[in-house]
């Protein structure tokens, strides 16, 4: 699928008649095909919801990321109810108050709901202060309950942090580190791939050997080794970028190889030869002719690489090799689940896995849809 650099009508147009309207652009055609793919649209809408709630995490989360509720450590999820113990219907939904008790047999802490105390959800209530977009201070949260009631939609961890709020804040790291990593991968891989494919010869050989060496190391050990090389005394933000770089280093090779393949097949096409004969500089040939034709493939590969990056960050942080506290991500939240004794008694700490799954599946749907939309020969 090639894009002519300049489209001019070849047939002479009689004076006085209007220029024929341009046909749909490639982008519009792709979007049209994408829209017809229901799974892809479904995945896209889920991703939009997830990313919007990531941006407005402070608003959607009832509690702050570091807020601890010392009386309620390791509490199970607080169910939302609409019908109370007497059978009365309430709106808005409410939560029961609950208190900690120690089970006399196992000496374990259990939380017993007190059906006498009813705390209805309040919407758009004032809660903890935060800065929207880091700019203007406000205290409005989407929902909360008035003290001393607590709403723990997904339970709490061993420090008493509300898991639901932390999942929302953690999404900021988990969702963006994949994007940053893919962006780095694309920049590095596409550029090197185009240069390697266009120049050929020695440069091509060196690049291919380098990619081969990197791909000779299995992915998981390479991730682990590189992630362990990120110094532990770096600030959390630097570690974040370090992890993004590590994730991108593993995938840029495949992207470079694919781009190189496309460039190899494009190199001999007429408009490139024409550009060379009209004395176009190499840079212009690369940037105006070769790169745009690789874009659709790069977009598909990049979108399909994001789930791998999210999984990579989750796995690394789960093992303690990724993002460092106090930054939080879904992988770090799942780190709580690593101690099996804890996990068995508090299975709700696995909830972040559901969000990981949802995000990855949605990205897969969108990526598949993009791939089918970009390929003009895809059947029904």
């Amino acid at each position: 699928m090639t894009v002519a650099s300049e489209a001019k009508p070849l047939t002479p147009v009689a004076a006085g008649t209007e220029e024929p309207k341009a046909a749909m652009t490639v982008g519009q055609l792709m979007w049209g095909r994408f829209r017809r793919n229901r799974l892809a649209m479904f995945g896209m809408s889920i991703l939009i919801v997830i990313y919007v709630s990531m941006i407005f995490a402070d608003f959607f989360a009832p509690y702050g990321v570091d807020t601890t509720h010392e009386l309620y450590t390791s509490a199970p999820p607080n169910g939302l109810h609409v019908i109370d113990a007497q059978g009365k219907f309430h709106w808005p939904p409410f939560v029961y108050g609950f208190e900690a008790q120690t089970d006399p047999d196992t000496l374990r802490r259990t939380y017993v709901p007190k059906t006498s105390e009813i705390y209805p959800l309040g919407f758009f209530v004032g809660g903890e202060p935060y800065r929207m977009f880091g700019v203007f201070a406000t205290t409005v949260h989407l929902f909360s309950v008035s003290e001393p009631g607590k709403v723990f939609l997904l339970g709490t961890d061993s420090n008493g942090h509300d898991l639901f709020s932390r999942v929302l804040y953690g999404s900021r790291v988990s969702l963006t580190v994949g994007l940053v990593g893919v962006f780095l991968s694309v920049v590095l891989g596409a550029f090197i791939g185009v240069v390697s494919g266009y120049y050929g010869g020695v440069i091509d050989n060196i690049v291919q050997r380098a990619i081969e060496v990197i791909s000779s190391i299995p992915q998981i050990p390479l991730w682990l080794g590189l992630a362990a090389a990120v110094p532990p005394d770096w600030s959390p933000l630097r570690v974040y970028f370090g992890i993004a770089v590590v994730l991108s280093l593993v995938t840029w090779g495949g992207l470079a190889r694919q781009v190189r393949g496309i460039v190899l097949s494009l190199r001999e096409i007429d408009f490139v030869t024409a550009a060379r004969y009209t004395n176009c500089s190499t840079l212009r040939i690369i940037s105006r002719h070769l790169l745009p034709n690789t874009l659709s493939h790069v977009l598909v590969i990049a979108t399909l690489a994001i789930p791998g990056m999210i999984l990579g960050e989750t796995s690394l942080s789960f093992l303690g090799l990724g993002i460092r506290p106090p930054m939080t991500s879904w992988g770090i939240l799942l780190n709580e689940a690593q101690r099996v004794r804890v996990l068995i008694q508090e299975p709700w700490v696995l909830w972040p896995a559901f969000f990981v799954l949802l995000t990855i599946v949605s990205f897969n749907f969108v990526g598949d849809g993009l791939r089918d939309a970009a390929d003009p020969f895809a059947g029904e």
Partner: protein
């Protein structure tokens, strides 16, 4: 053909050298090293003479020499089969690594065979019954398997197992059987532990194979020769299995190249999470604690398996497909 094999085999040597170099460099990047950490630990627990011990250890492992010299020395011994000594276990690397290989393979080989058999069969079914209820269901299953990392599935199965049976299936054997001689009961106990990692790994592996097979077969079934064969009156079963599936399988042969390396390294995180005494957790531990020789040796071992596996896959592909002839 033979010249191609010879050339590829020769090229693996510089590749492996580079891998050894990369893994050594990566191990050197974090500040400090194993001995300084060990000394810090000793001092924290109040033991005296920690610093002297540290100096001795440094001399034994050659950590005082500059990194390039250490690398060259280690590499020189590597080609003779001496992979250096592990600092954590204070034994030669070879003694630490080799006993774990059979157990690792005993776990991963069945996983590989089962997941590929199931994945291929379901992929073929999915492609030949496209858009049916079965296909849609299998698509959902595949996305679950692709979207969840295997270690999370393993953890979920662990919780499920505990809620049903009340036992935590960590490690290879339960406490009672740890030092007991082999008996039927012990075998059953191992099976009760191992079904969790096997199920988790098979689930994710099968999902991938199924999706790839389905996609490839769907592409194959659109090619002219399928229509020609059907028009000729060839039975559908023959069309699909003897013709389409054989062609659809080709891209998967490239994937098979990575299997050899996967057998020892791909399930590392699952094994770590479940506390299994296999190669993966050993490598993770070596990396985390900067046991340079152990980690680098294992990494070169993984890479060698990957390179060798890819070579075998390329040869197999060239042998199977007469259109591919590298010269």
């Amino acid at each position: 053909m033979l010249s191609y094999i010879a050339r590829r085999a020769l090229m693996t040597i510089p590749t492996l050298l580079m891998v050894a170099l990369i893994s050594f460099v990566v191990m050197e990047l974090p500040p400090g090293d194993y001995v300084s950490r060990y000394v810090a630990q000793l001092e924290a627990s109040g033991q005296s003479g920690a610093r002297d011990r540290g100096a001795t250890l440094r001399k034994v492992y050659g950590l005082d020499d500059p990194a390039p010299k250490r690398f060259v020395v280690w590499l020189g011994r590597f080609v003779t089969g001496d992979f250096g000594d592990s600092m954590i276990y204070q034994r030669p690397v070879r003694e630490v690594v080799l006993p774990r290989v059979p157990l690792t393979l005993a776990l991963t080989l069945p996983c590989f065979i089962i997941s590929w058999i199931i994945g291929l069969s379901l992929g073929i079914y999915s492609a030949t019954h496209q858009y049916s209820i079965g296909d849609n269901l299998l698509t959902v299953v595949a996305f679950l398997g692709l979207g969840l990392p295997a270690f999370l599935i393993a953890l979920a199965l662990l919780v499920f197992n505990w809620q049903v049976s009340g036992e935590a299936m960590i490690g290879l054997v339960s406490l009672e059987y740890a030092n007991a001689p082999w008996s039927l009961a012990k075998v059953l106990d191992v099976a009760k532990h191992l079904w969790i990692p096997v199920a988790a790994v098979v689930f994710t592996g099968m999902a991938w194979v199924m999706r790839v097979m389905r996609g490839n077969l769907l592409d194959e079934l659109r090619v002219n020769y399928v229509q020609a064969a059907r028009a000729k009156g060839v039975p559908e079963r023959v069309v699909i299995f003897r013709h389409a599936v054989r062609n659809a399988f080709h891209p998967l042969i490239m994937a098979l190249g990575g299997v050899l390396a996967w057998l020892v390294s791909g399930t590392a995180i699952v094994e770590l999470v479940l506390g299994l005494p296999t190669l993966g957790p050993l490598y993770i531990q070596a990396t985390l604690e900067q046991d340079v020789y152990l980690a680098s040796s294992i990494l070169v071992f993984f890479a060698a398996l990957l390179v060798f596996g890819n070579l075998l896959a390329d040869i197999a592909l060239a042998w199977l497909d007469p259109r591919i002839r590298y010269d």
